[in-house]
């Protein structure tokens, strides 16, 4: 589904991604872990098409397309979804309008007719249950005044509405209490399917108790320095990142 080869990216003069290789197939759940500043969020942003990053080398193919050639909205319409680490507050735009506009863009892209407000309301009610949100959220401006947990649940609600093929969750666990974490993880798990893939970007192992990865990768200094199965995450939790750093230093010495 997604194939990243030797991806290099920089912001202004600072090179952040220094040769990422990663392949993700349908049905898989990948976790990308790593210490702060290792490039995890940059990787997520670059995949979603955030401006400001310069790709200096490498390629990303997504569903047989050159992902880097697509605008952010085109990536979204092709089924790529980024759950933001810091969801953006948008005063004056209510959540229903936001969700429906995005949903209808997806439909239009697939050659389907847009749905009207009434039909959309029916659809959204089902999705709300998934993240245990009540209808009053829909009338509120997007993320404005939402608590940290509400924002993250709102991200998963968007994921439920847009039904992406590849979901990238960027530090979705940050700032969540245990109940919100459980709701968010439960939502993500329910949305997962054999034809879909999930990438969980996280600093801590905690979320991976709920969203169990098939593969765990450690990103350090802009490269994936170690990959393994879910036991790698537990090992990192127990031993911290230092041993991976040291191992990496020895390898490059």
């Amino acid at each position: 589904m997604l194939k990243i080869e030797n991806l290099h990216a920089r912001i202004e003069d600072t090179e952040i991604l220094k040769g990422i290789d990663l392949e993700i197939n349908a049905g898989e759940v990948h976790a990308i872990m790593g210490p702060n500043g290792s490039g995890k969020s940059t990787l997520a942003q670059v995949l979603a098409g955030r401006e400001g990053y310069e790709i200096t080398a490498g390629s990303v193919s997504y569903l047989e397309k050159d992902l880097l050639d697509l605008d952010p909205e085109e990536r979204a319409r092709e089924g790529l979804f980024l759950a933001f680490q810091y969801p953006v507050e948008i005063p004056g735009v209510n959540s229903t309008y936001f969700l429906r506009t995005g949903y209808n863009e997806m439909r239009r892209h697939r050659g389907e007719d847009p749905v009207d407000a009434m039909d959309f309301l029916k659809l959204i009610r089902e999705k709300l249950a998934l993240v245990e949100m009540d209808e009053s959220f829909l009338k509120r401006p997007v993320n404005e005044g939402f608590s940290g947990g509400e924002k993250k649940r709102h991200e998963v609600l968007q994921m439920a509405v847009l039904e992406p093929k590849l979901s990238i969750l960027d530090e979705t666990d940050s700032g969540l209490d245990i109940d919100a974490l459980r709701i968010v993880a439960n939502g993500v798990n329910q949305l997962h399917a054999p034809d879909k893939a999930v990438v969980v970007v996280t600093h801590y192992q905690r979320l991976l108790d709920y969203i169990v990865p098939d593969f765990v990768h450690v990103l350090y200094q802009g490269r994936i320095v170690k990959s393994g199965d879910k036991t790698l995450a537990l090992e990192l939790e127990a031993k911290g990142y230092d041993w991976v750093k040291e191992e990496h230093l020895e390898q490059t010495r």
Partner: protein, 437 residues
Amino acid sequence: MSGTDWYQSRFADFEQNLNGEAQGPVHQLRRDAIAHFTATGFPTSRDEEWRFTNIAPLTRIDFELAAKTDEPATADIAPLRYGLPGPVFVDGHFAPSLSQLDALPQGVVVKNLRTAFIEDADLVCRYIGQDAMSEDQAFTALNTAFVQDGVLIYLPQGTVLDTPLHTLFLSTGTKANVVSHPRVLVVAEAHAEATLVESYGGLGVEAYLTNSVCEINVGENASIDHYRVQREAPTAFHISATHVREARSARFRSTSITLGGSLTRNHVHTALMGEGIDSTLNGLYIENGSQHVDNHTLIEHAQPNCQSHEFYKGVLDDESSGVFRGKIHVHQAAQKTDAYQANQNLLLSDSAKIDTKPQLEIYADDVKCSHGATIGQLDADAIFYLRSRGIGHREAVRVLTRAFAGEVLDRVRIDGLRDELDRLVTERLDRAAGVAP
């Protein structure tokens, strides 16, 4: 001839044609006003209050008083009426056949000022021109000198207008370089309540000047919700002054929407003359091309325990420019004043420009006053967020700009007016989004 000489000579002509109307206290007011105007002349950009607005393009033109023209068809003006009844003026002249003045509550008077000068001279003279001679109000003096047609809205004690009353000033724009001096006089006695719309529209292509003055007196416990909608032709100059006097426990709310004209200056002065007053000034200006809009406000807290809220927003595109100057003056007696002012501007192009200057002058020691001004572009994070949900760049820009303007539009409490303004603003923004990079 130019400037004051020109208007002095026009005044002589005007006076001659007044015949029987050139007498009495109102005419004395006119004479005083032209003398005042002649003495002070037009402001220049050397005047602090006019520093950021160059009116030379306007003062260079010798404007003739607009003559009475054929009234436009009712159908042509329908889109400018927002489905609301009230008097209509064409090129400054009262147009009875276009006006809708029936079904007013008992005692409420809505009539042409020219008639009121004769029939209600005492009432009119008590309230008209209270602020016309103030130093920095050359345009108000000029309006007063030529005052003739206009509207008197008189709400006796305790009367309530259930339907918003809409006064429409229409410029046909069929003849170049003409001026009209619309005048609105509102007297709301104690406990009276009304929603008033004062709007301006232009149909033609020729350059013209609208120089309007609105005076509103809000009596004790009276409540006035005032809307000002400016949709002049793109070639128009629009200068306006709104003078508001509020008595004890009055509520006044103003919403000023500027969409049209090439050069606009709106001056709003509210004087809070009693205790317990709640006063609100909302404003929205949407500009493109080479439009210039100057909103100049002065809120005067003269007595204790009053609140004022001011909230102006602007969206500026292309080469347009704007000015916001908001002064809050808290007199020494005005303890426990609670005043808030905000001015937020969105610049959609690199060439658009705004000068914003909040000003607090506080002479009382126990007050709560705050202000904030922002100038910015659309939030890049918000644009990316929308795009990452499949919403295209143009649509994202449109949605966010509409949301920005919506914060003022949503404060319009007349459904028909709000929907129409929403449609107009959205249309403008769609056009802007169409040319955005």
